[in-house]
Amino acid sequence: MMDGGSALTPLKMTLRNLIRRPMRTSLTALGVGVGVVAIVAFSAIVLGLRGSTDASIHMNDAGLLVFQAGIAADILSALDEDDTRRKLAEIPEVRFGLASLWHLLRVEQQPFCLALGLRIEDAEWTEHEDLIAGRYLASNDEVLLGSVLSKLLDKGVGDTIRIGSEPYRVAGVFHTGVVFNDGAIIVSLPRLQQLANKKGQATTFQLYLADDADPYALAERMEARFPEWAVVADVNQYDKVDHGLAMADSLVWAVSFVALVVGSLIVTNTMWMSVLERTREIGVLRAVGWSPGGIVRLIVLEAVGVGVLGLAVGCVLGVVLAETTALMPVTQQFIDPQYDWAPFLRAAVIAVALSALGAVLPAWRASRISPAEALRYE
C-alpha cells in the first residue's frame, strides 16, 4: 500500500506552479518586494525622525517648545532672546525657558553637524545630566560632543577640534539616546550667535512647566497672547514650525505607490506569460470540469503567492536598508530607524492587493480559453 500524503488543493497547485519556474517567480517577487522595501525602510526612517523629534521636545522633562510663528522650517526660527525671556516671565506656569540656537556647522571632516548654542549659566537645565565623560561648558572656547559625533570624529574629552579655523577644546561627551542630540555639538550660545551671525537670537525656548500645568492648553493660550510665537506640545504639532515630517510621510507614500504599481505591472507581465505558456494545461483543466471562475481563482492565487513572497523579501530587505542607511557616516547623526506594526501591515495589504490586481487581466484571459482550442494548442 502506498504511503499517505495530503490531498491536492488549489493552494498546493499554486505552490507547484510557483516553484516550477523559480527564477521567474523570484524576480517577480523581487519586483513586488521593491515597493515593500520602500514602505518598510522609509517608514522606519520617518518613524525614527518622529520619535527623535518628540524625544527632543520633551528632553529633560521639558513641556513645550516656543518658535517664531510662520516659519517654513524649525531651524529658520529667529526669536529675540531678551524679548522672549521677558514675555516668558509673565507666564506663571513657566518655571524656566532654556534658550537654544540651532545652526548647521562643518566640524572637522563632518560636512553637516547640528550645533546647539546654550548658555553656560543654564547648565542646571541642560543635558549635562547625560554627560558620560568630562564636564559641562565652562568657557566660550569649549564644546560638548554628542556620543555619535564623538565616535564619528574620534575625539574625546581633552581633545581639540576645529570649527572653521578656530580651535575648541572638548570639555565633555554626552549621550541622550536621541540621535538628533547625540549627533550634535553643543557650543556656548554667545559663541554660536557670533559664528552664525545671529547676535541676540535664539531658535527656540524649551519650557519647563509647573507640575500642574496642562501643556496643550497652555500652548493655545500662549499663542493667543503672543501671536508671533508657535508653541509646540508634541510631535503631532510640529508641522506648525516644520513640514519636513509631513513631507517625508507624503514622500513615503508617493515612492511606495509608484514602486508597487511597477511591481503590479511586473506581476501582470509574468502571469500573462504564464497563462500563455500553460494554455494547453488550462484547457485540460477546463476539459475535466473546471469552471472559468475556478481558473480565475487559480491564477489570482498564484499572483497573491508571488505578492506574499515579495512581501517577505521586501520586509527583510527594508529593515536591512533602513539599518544600513543609519550606519552611514553622513546619516547616522540624524537617522535612527524605528519600527511599528502599521507600516508592515500597510505593506502587506498593498502588496497582496496590487498583486491580485496585476493578475486580473491574465486571469480573465485564462478564463476565456476554449478547452477545444487549447487542446489543439501546441
Partner: protein, 227 residues
C-alpha cells in the same frame, strides 16, 4: 432546461452540425446518433472525417452550430450557461490521445484534479485517488511525476483521472494512438474492464479496426456524416 433523464439513453443527437472557417469546413454535418446507457460504441473513419469534433461536441468542449444534443440529461444546444462545465464535472470523463497530464503534479495529484472541480472534500479526493491508482495497477507510482512515467503508465493515469468523478460516460479519443501495440492492448483491456465493472457508457474514437472490434457497436464516419 435539461431534458428529463432517460435512464436508457446516454447520448442523443439530431441533425448535429459543427462548422469551421466560416462554414467552409463542415466537420460534423447533420449527425443523428443515439447511445444507450452502458453501451460501448466505437466511432471510426479516416483522419479529418469529424470523429474528434463529434466527441468534443458530446463532451461539451465544442459548441454545436445547429441541431440538438443531449448528454446524460443535459441539453447542450441552444444555451450559453455553465451546463458544459457541469456536464464534464458530473457526467463525462475524457481520455485524450496524448495523456495531457500536468507535468508538475504527481500521478496521484493528477487524478485528483477533476475532484477539486466537483467540490469533493480533500480527504475523499485523496482516498479515491489512491483507490483509482491501485485499481489501474499504479499504486507504487503514485508519487511519480509524468516525466518519470512510461507512455503506457501516463495513459493509464489519464484513464484514472477520467474516472475520478465516477462519470457514467467515458469518452476516449484515440487512447492508444501514442502507444506501441503491447501497451495499446493493455490499455484497451483496462478500459474494457473498467467499463464492465462500473457499467459505464464508453464512446471511443479510433481509426484502428482492432480497437473498434472490442466495442458493442461501430459507427463509421465520412466527411462529417455517419455512413
Amino acid at each position: 432546461m435539461n431534458d428529463p433523464p432517460d435512464r436508457n439513453v446516454m447520448v442523443s443527437t439530431r441533425g448535429l452540425v459543427r462548422h469551421f472557417e466560416g462554414g467552409r469546413v463542415r466537420a460534423v454535418d447533420g449527425v443523428d446518433l443515439e447511445v444507450a446507457a452502458g453501451e460501448s460504441v466505437a466511432i471510426c473513419g479516416p483522419s479529418g472525417c469529424g470523429k474528434t469534433t463529434l466527441l468534443n461536441l458530446i463532451a461539451g468542449i465544442e459548441r454545436a452550430d445547429a441541431g440538438t444534443l443531449s448528454v446524460g440529461g443535459f441539453r447542450l444546444t441552444g444555451r450559453s450557461d455553465g451546463a458544459p462545465d457541469e456536464l464534464r464535472r458530473s457526467v463525462v470523463g475524457l481520455v485524450f490521445q496524448l495523456h495531457n497530464l500536468l507535468p508538475n503534479l504527481t500521478a496521484l495529484e493528477n487524478v485528483q484534479i477533476p475532484m477539486i472541480a466537483a467540490g469533493l472534500a480533500p480527504r475523499l479526493r485523496h482516498e479515491r485517488g489512491v483507490s483509482l491508482l491501485d485499481r489501474i495497477g499504479l499504486a507504487a507510482r503514485a508519487h511519480a511525476r509524468p516525466p518519470m512515467l512510461s507512455g503506457g503508465e501516463r495513459q493509464r493515469v489519464a484513464i484514472a483521472r477520467a474516472m475520478a468523478n465516477e462519470p457514467p460516460l467515458l469518452l476516449a479519443d484515440e487512447p492508444t494512438g501514442a502507444l506501441d501495440s503491447r501497451n495499446g492492448q493493455r490499455l484497451l483491456d483496462l478500459l474494457s474492464q473498467l467499463q464492465r465493472d462500473t457499467h459505464t457508457t464508453l464512446i471511443i474514437v479510433t481509426h484502428d479496426a482492432a480497437v473498434a472490434s472490442r466495442a458493442d457497436r461501430t459507427i463509421q464516419m465520412l466527411d462529417g456524416r455517419i455512413v
